[in-house]
C-alpha cells in the first residue's frame, strides 16, 4: 500500500477547500470500496484522502413527496434498500443498490461513490438515469446541478472540476403510473461486474394502457453509461407489449458501442442489450401497473 495522509472533513466547505489546496493530489473517501482497492493496486496515486462520511449533509437520506428523494453522496447501499419508502417509490434504484458487490460491500459502498468512480459498468448509474436523478455538486462557496446522464465523460472521468465534489443526488418524486427496473447480466449469480446493464422506466397514462414517457439507459456498452433518449421516446404513445419493447430494444442495440474484453464479447454485449431492454421494460410496466 502506498503512503498517504488522511483527513476527516467536518463540512462541505472544509472538504472542498482541502480539495482545492491539493489540486489533483487528493481523493474523496466515502465507502472506499473502489478507492482503497485502487490505491492498493496503484491504479491511483494520491497524497491525501479526504473522508466525507462525517459531513452531515452528505450522510443524509430523506424523502419528501414534493421534493423527492435526496441521497447524500456517502449514504451506503444498505440504508437505501432497507428504507421501505424508497423501496416502494424507486424500484429501479433498489434493483441496483441491492446487487452492487456482496452484502459486506453494500454496507459501505455509496451510490455517490459508484457514480464518481465513473465505471462504464457501474450498476447504479443506469438506474439513477432512468429515475431522472440530478447531481448536486459542491464547491467551497457555490453549488451546481448536473443530470446524472451528463456526469460521466470517460472511463473514470467526470465533469467534476478543480475543488468540486459530489454532495448529493436528487431524484424527483415518482407520479402514479411510474415504474422502473434495472437488470444486469453476469455469468455467475453474484460477485460479478455487469457484462451489460440496462435500466428502464416508464410512465403510463391513467388507464395504464399507454406509455406517456420512458427512459432507457445502458451500462458496460460504451465508454460511459449511456442514456438512449431515442429508445425511450420511441415508446411514447405506444401500448406496452412485446412489439413496442422490441422496437425500443432495437434502438438501444443500435446506440450501444460495446467492446470485447475479459468480461464479454462485443457481439454478446450487443445481443444482451436487446434481451435486457425488453426484459427491463416488461418489469417496469408491471411495476407501473401495481
Amino acid at each position: 500500500m502506498q503512503q498517504f495522509r488522511y483527513i476527516r472533513a467536518h463540512n462541505v466547505e472544509h472538504a472542498a477547500t482541502l480539495l482545492l489546496q491539493h489540486d489533483g493530489r487528493a481523493r474523496i473517501l466515502a465507502g472506499g470500496t473502489d478507492l482503497i482497492v485502487a490505491l492498493r493496486e496503484r491504479r491511483l496515486e494520491t497524497e491525501l484522502v479526504i473522508d466525507i462520511k462525517g459531513i452531515p449533509e452528505v450522510s443524509e437520506l430523506s424523502f419528501d413527496p414534493v421534493e423527492g428523494l435526496r441521497i447524500g453522496s456517502s449514504v451506503p447501499c444498505h440504508r437505501i434498500y432497507n428504507d421501505a419508502t424508497i423501496v416502494a417509490k424507486y424500484p429501479g434504484l433498489i434493483d441496483a443498490a441491492s446487487l452492487i458487490g456482496g452484502i459486506q460491500i453494500q454496507g459501505r459502498a455509496s451510490l455517490g461513490g459508484n457514480l464518481c468512480n465513473a465505471s462504464p459498468a457501474a450498476d447504479s448509474i443506469p438506474a439513477l438515469i432512468v429515475h431522472g436523478a440530478i447531481c448536486d455538486i459542491a464547491l467551497p462557496q457555490t453549488r451546481r446541478r448536473v443530470p446524472v446522464e451528463a456526469f460521466c465523460t470517460a472511463p473514470g472521468k467526470t465533469v467534476l472540476e478543480r475543488g468540486e465534489f459530489l454532495a448529493s443526488l436528487h431524484l424527483p418524486p415518482p407520479p402514479p403510473g411510474f415504474g422502473a427496473a434495472y437488470l444486469r447480466f453476469i455469468p455467475r449469480n453474484e460477485m460479478d461486474i455487469a457484462v451489460v446493464g440496462v435500466g428502464a422506466s416508464v410512465q403510463l397514462d391513467e388507464s395504464r394502457q399507454r406509455i406517456t414517457a420512458a427512459r432507457i439507459a445502458l451500462g458496460a456498452v460504451a465508454p460511459t453509461p449511456l442514456f438512449v433518449q431515442e429508445a425511450g421516446d420511441a415508446l411514447i404513445g405506444a401500448e406496452p407489449g412485446d412489439e413496442a419493447f422490441a422496437r425500443a430494444a432495437a434502438i438501444a442495440q443500435a446506440a450501444a458501442r460495446p467492446i470485447s474484453d475479459m468480461r464479454g464479447t462485443a457481439e454478446h454485449r450487443r445481443h444482451l442489450v436487446g434481451v435486457l431492454t425488453r426484459r427491463a421494460l416488461a418489469i417496469a410496466v408491471e411495476r407501473a401497473r401495481k
Partner: protein, 749 residues
C-alpha cells in the same frame, strides 16, 4: 450389505483439526511470525516474452528499510535433473528458471527479482524501483500455433522427445508420446457409426483459497529452515536442496495448515527466494506471501488443450476403434499433464483398436502444475462428448452403452496396464438405478447429461510413528499434509486396527525433522498409503503390547490374545487403557511403506441444466455424483471430496479461463474476473458412494479425491446438448460462447 464389520471405519466423527480451523486459531502459511522477520516481495515481468537486457537494482537497494535484493544470479546453476513432483515431473534447470528468470522472461508475471525489507510496504515500493531493460520478443499462447514452423521459440535448447528419440532442431514441442494397440483401420472399417470431433479447453487455475506463503531462515550454520503451506514438506526439502545445491539434510521444512492445494502446492515458488533473501539479509528470517493476482500470474494453472477424438461403434453399440490427438499447453516450461490425459481419455472403455498421440508444448503462459486428476477433465470432456454423440446416433441409452463397453478386472487400459478389481460396472449400475436418472425433467430448454471418468490414483511412500500414552491414548505422528480430512481418516484406521475409540488417537502432522520420509498429499494417495503405514503401526503396537501383557502376567506371549482392544490370557484380561497405564517400558513404533496395490477410481456424474437461450447462461438444476470409493473410511469427508471435485469441474466447464490481450498479457488475474463458481452458482451436489473394496489395502481403500473432477465438464456439455440441440466443443461453455453457438445454429446454413 451386512452390518459393518468395522467399529470405527464408516462412522462420521468430528475432525481433530476442526475447532482450530473454525475458530481461526489454526496456523496457516501467512500466520507464521518469527523475531526479526523481514518481508519479501517479487518483481514480475510485464511482458509475455522478452530477453532481459539488464537489471539495475541500485535504486531499490538504496531505499531505507531494504535489507536484500536478489536476482537469478544468486541461484546456483543446476543441471538437467528431472524430478518427480507428484503427478508432474520437472526439469530442475527449468524450475530454477521459473523461480527467478535467468536470461529471458517467458510469461506475463514471470518472477525476475525479489526484495526483502523491514515491512511489506517498503518491499513493494523497492520492487517497483528495480529497473529492468527488456528486448520484447514475439509471443505464442496457443499450443497448435506454438507447433507451427514459424512459431517463436521459447527455449532455444529444447528438442522434441519424439516417441523416445531426441530431435535435432529447435522446437516448442517437448515431447510426443503414443499409446497404440490393435488395428485402427480394421476397427473403423468394422464400425457402423463413426464420430470425430475437435475440442478446445482453456487454461484454468486450481483456485485454492489460501495464497502461497512461506517463511525461510538461512541460518549462520547453513541450515535452512522453512515454514510453508505445502502439500508435501519432503518435496519442498528436495526441491530446495536441488535448487540451492545444498544437502537435503540441511533443509528443515515445517508445514503449516494448508488452505487447499489441488496439486498446485507441490512445487516451490517463494521458498527458495525467501531463503536467498534471508542469507543475503544477514541471516534474518524472510516472509513472503502472494497476493491473489500473483497466484494467478505466477503459479501453476493446468493446461489448456486441443483434443481431436474419433470413435467408431457397431449398430449393437460395441466400440470398435478409438483414435485421438491431444495437444496440451505446458506453459513456459515442459511438463503438461498430457501423459495422464492420454491415459484418462479412453480409460473407461474396453478397446482392442486404439491409438492416442499426445504432445507436450511450451507456450508463453505460466508453467502448468498438477491440478486434481491432472489432464483428466480435458480428456473426458472430449471423449465423453463423442461417446454421447455415438449413443445418440445409435439410439442407445448412454449408461447402457457404457455398461456394454465398460472395462472390468483383467482388461487392459489403452496405456498398457491390466486393470485390477475395479468398480466401474457397479458405479454405472448405481447411476442407472438412481432416482435422478429416471426422474422426469419437464420444461423447455432443459436437458440431462451423463458422463463417466477414470483416474489412476497412486500409492507412494509414507512413514508414520506412534507412541502409547499412560492414559491409554495413542499419539499418531505423520507427515502427510492434511488437505482433505486425513488426520481423521488415518486416526480412524489406527483406532480400528488397535480396537480402541477414535477419540483416543491424537494425530499430529509434523515436518521433515519429525517423521520418516513421506511423499506429498497428491495422487489421492494419503488415506490409502499413509493409511497402510498407520495399519502397520497398529499391528506393531499390538505386538508390543501383547509382549508387555505377557511379561505382566509372566506367561508366554503366544498365549496372549488381543481382540477389540482387550488383552487376555487364560481368564485374565486387561483393556488397552489398563495395560497402557502399567507399562514399565514405553511403547513406541514406526512404520514406512511403499504399497503398490492402489486401485483406480471410476465416477459417473448425472446433471440437469436449464439454458437461458436468450443470454446463453446455464443453470444447474440437479447434480448427482456416483463413484466407486473402495471403502469410505469417513463417509462425510468422502462425500465432500465428490462434491468439491464436481464444484471445481463446474467452474472449469462454465466460466473459468485465463484471458489474454493481444500482447500476451493476462488481463483477468483476480477472482472478480477469473470467474470461479460462488455458492449461488452451485446446486446441492448429491453423492452416491459405491464401495467395491480395493484388494490392495487392508481396509479396501482406494483414492477418492481426484476422479470427481473428471466427468463434470463432459456431463454438462452433454446436458446442454439435450437442452438446446447444440454441441459445445470449447471450454469454458460461458454465456458468450453458448449464445454465439445458439445464434449460429439458428441461422440456416
Amino acid at each position: 450389505m451386512t452390518s459393518s464389520q468395522y467399529k470405527v471405519i464408516g462412522s462420521r466423527p468430528l475432525r481433530p483439526d476442526g475447532v482450530d480451523k473454525v475458530t481461526g486459531r489454526a496456523v496457516y502459511g501467512a500466520d507464521v511470525k518469527l523475531p526479526g522477520m523481514l518481508h519479501g516481495k517479487i518483481l514480475r515481468s510485464p511482458h509475455a516474452h522478452a530477453r532481459i537486457v539488464s537489471i539495475d537494482v541500485s535504486a531499490a537497494q538504496a531505499l531505507p528499510g531494504v535489507r536484500a535484493v536478489v536476482t537469478a544470479r544468486e541461484l546456483p546453476s543446476v543441471g538437467d535433473t528431472v524430478t518427480d513432483l507428484g503427478e508432474s515431473v520437472v526439469n530442475l534447470r527449468y524450475m530454477s528458471n521459473n523461480i527467478l528468470a535467468h536470461d529471458k522472461v517467458l510469461y506475463h508475471g514471470h518472477a525476475i527479482a525479489a526484495v526483502a525489507a523491514d515491512n511489506p510496504h517498503i518491499a513493494e515500493e523497492a520492487a517497483r524501483l528495480i529497473k529492468v531493460t527488456y528486448e520484447v520478443l514475439p509471443h505464442v499462447l496457443d499450443g497448435r500455433a506454438a507447433m507451427a514452423a514459424n512459431a517463436p521459440i521459447l527455449l532455444p535448447d529444447l528438442r522434441t522427445n519424439e516417441l523416445g528419440k531426441q530431435g535435432s532442431s529447435q522446437t516448442n514441442v517437448a515431447e510426443h508420446i503414443r499409446h497404440q494397440r490393435g488395428d485402427l483401420a480394421a476397427g473403423f472399417a468394422a464400425a457402423d457409426v463413426i464420430v470425430e470431433r475437435e475440442f478446445h479447453t482453456a487454461t484454468v487455475h486450481q483456485g485454492y483459497v489460501e495464497p502461497h506463503a512461506a517463511v525461510a531462515l538461512w541460518n549462520e550454520d547453513d541450515q535452512i529452515l522453512v515454514w510453508c503451506s505445502t502439500q508435501g514438506s519432503f518435496g519442498v526439502q528436495e526441491q530446495m536442496a536441488e535448487l540451492l545445491q545444498v544437502p537435503p539434510s540441511r533443509v528443515v521444512v515445517t508445514p503449516t495448515e494448508i488452505g487447499g492445494g489441488f496439486g498446485g502446492k507441490n512445487s516451490v515458488y517463494l521458498e527458495p527466494v525467501a531463503a536467498l533473501l534471508s542469507r543475503k539479509a544477514g541471516h534474518r528470517p524472510v516472509k513472503m506471501t502472494m497476493t491473489r493476482a500473483e497466484v494467478l500470474f505466477g503459479t501453476g494453472p493446468t493446461s489448456g488443450s486441443y483434443i481431436r477424438v474419433k470413435m467408431g461403434a457397431t449398430r449393437d453399440g460395441t466400440l470398435t476403434a478409438a483414435e485421438a490427438e491431444m495437444i496440451y499447453e505446458a506453459g513456459a516450461f515442459p511438463g503438461s499433464p498430457v501423459g495422464a490425459g492420454c491415459g484418462v481419455l479412453f480409460g473407461p472403455y474396453k478397446l482392442e483398436n486404439v491409438q492416442v498421440d499426445g504432445y507436450d508444448v511450451v507456450v508463453n503462459r505460466p508453467k502448468s502444475a498438477a491440478y486434481r486428476a491432472p489432464g483428466g477433465t480435458n480428456a473426458a470432456f472430449a471423449a465423453e462428448a463423442v461417446v454421447d454423440e455415438l449413443t445418440e446416433k445409435l439410439g442407445i441409452d448412454p449408461i447402457a452403452f457404457r455398461l456394454h463397453n465398460a472395462v472390468r478386472e483383467g482388461d487392459r487400459r489403452a496405456d498398457g496396464p491390466e486393470l485390477p478389481r475395479i468398480g466401474f460396472i457397479e458405479t454405472l449400475e448405481a447411476a442407472r438405478d438412481h432416482a435422478h436418472y429416471s426422474a422426469p425433467l419437464p420444461g423447455k430448454q432443459r436437458g440431462r447429461g451423463v458422463a463417466a471418468g477414470f483416474w489412476f490414483n497412486w500409492g507412494g511412500k509414507s512413514s508414520a510413528s506412534a507412541s502409547v500414552n499412560a492414559d491409554g491414548t495413542v499419539n499418531l505422528v505423520e507427515g502427510s499434509t492434511d488437505i482433505g480430512g486425513s488426520r481423521a481418516s488415518l486416526a480412524m484406521q489406527l483406532a480400528e486396527t488397535l480396537g480402541i475409540p477414535y477419540a483416543d488417537i491424537r494425530p499430529q502432522v509434523v515436518g521433515t525433522a519429525g517423521v520418516g520420509y513421506n511423499e506429498g498429499t497428491y495422487g489421492s494417495r494419503t488415506t490409502f498409503s499413509t493409511g497402510w503405514a498407520v495399519y502397520e503401526l497398529g499391528k506393531k503396537i499390538l505386538d508390543e503390547m501383547r509382549q508387555r501383557a505377557a511379561t505382566h502376567w509372566d506367561v508366554p506371549v503366544d498365549g496372549v490374545t488381543v481382540q477389540d482392544g482387550t488383552f487376555a490370557h487364560n481368564g485374565d484380561s486387561m483393556s488397552f487403557r489398563e495395560l497402557a497405564g502399567q507399562l514399565e517400558v514405553p511403547v513406541s513404533v514406526s512404520a514406512s511403506v511403499f504399497p503398490s496395490g492402489f486401485g483406480p477410481s471410476f465416477a459417473v456424474h448425472i446433471v440437469d441444466v436449464e439454458v437461458d437461450v436468450e443470454t446463453g447462461k446455464v443453470e444447474i438444476l440437479r447434480y448427482t455424483a456416483v463413484q466407486d470409493v473402495g471403502k469410505a473410511i469417513h463417509p462425510a469427508y468422502v462425500e465432500g471430496q465428490l462434491q468439491g471435485g464436481a464444484a471445481q469441474g463446474v467452474g472449469w466447464a462454465l466460466n473459468e479461463e485465463y484471458v489474454y490481450d493481444d500482447k500476451g498479457r493476462l488481463v483477468n488475474a483476480s477472482l472478480l474476473d477469473y470467474r470461479m463458481p460462488t455458492a449461488l452458482d452451485l446446486p446441492m451436489i448429491d453423492t452416491v458412494l459405491v464401495e467395491v473394496a480395493n484388494p490392495g489395502h487392508p481396509y479396501g481403500v482406494r483414492g477418492v479425491g481426484e476422479v470427481p473432477i473428471v466427468p463434470p465438464a463432459a456431463a454438462l456439455a452433454n446436458a446442454i446438448y439435450q437442452a438446446t440441440g447444440v454441441r459445445m466443443t470449447e471450454l469454458p461453455m460461458s454465456p458468450a460462447r453458448v449464445s454465439a453457438a445458439l445464434l449460429a445454429a439458428a441461422v440456416p446454413a
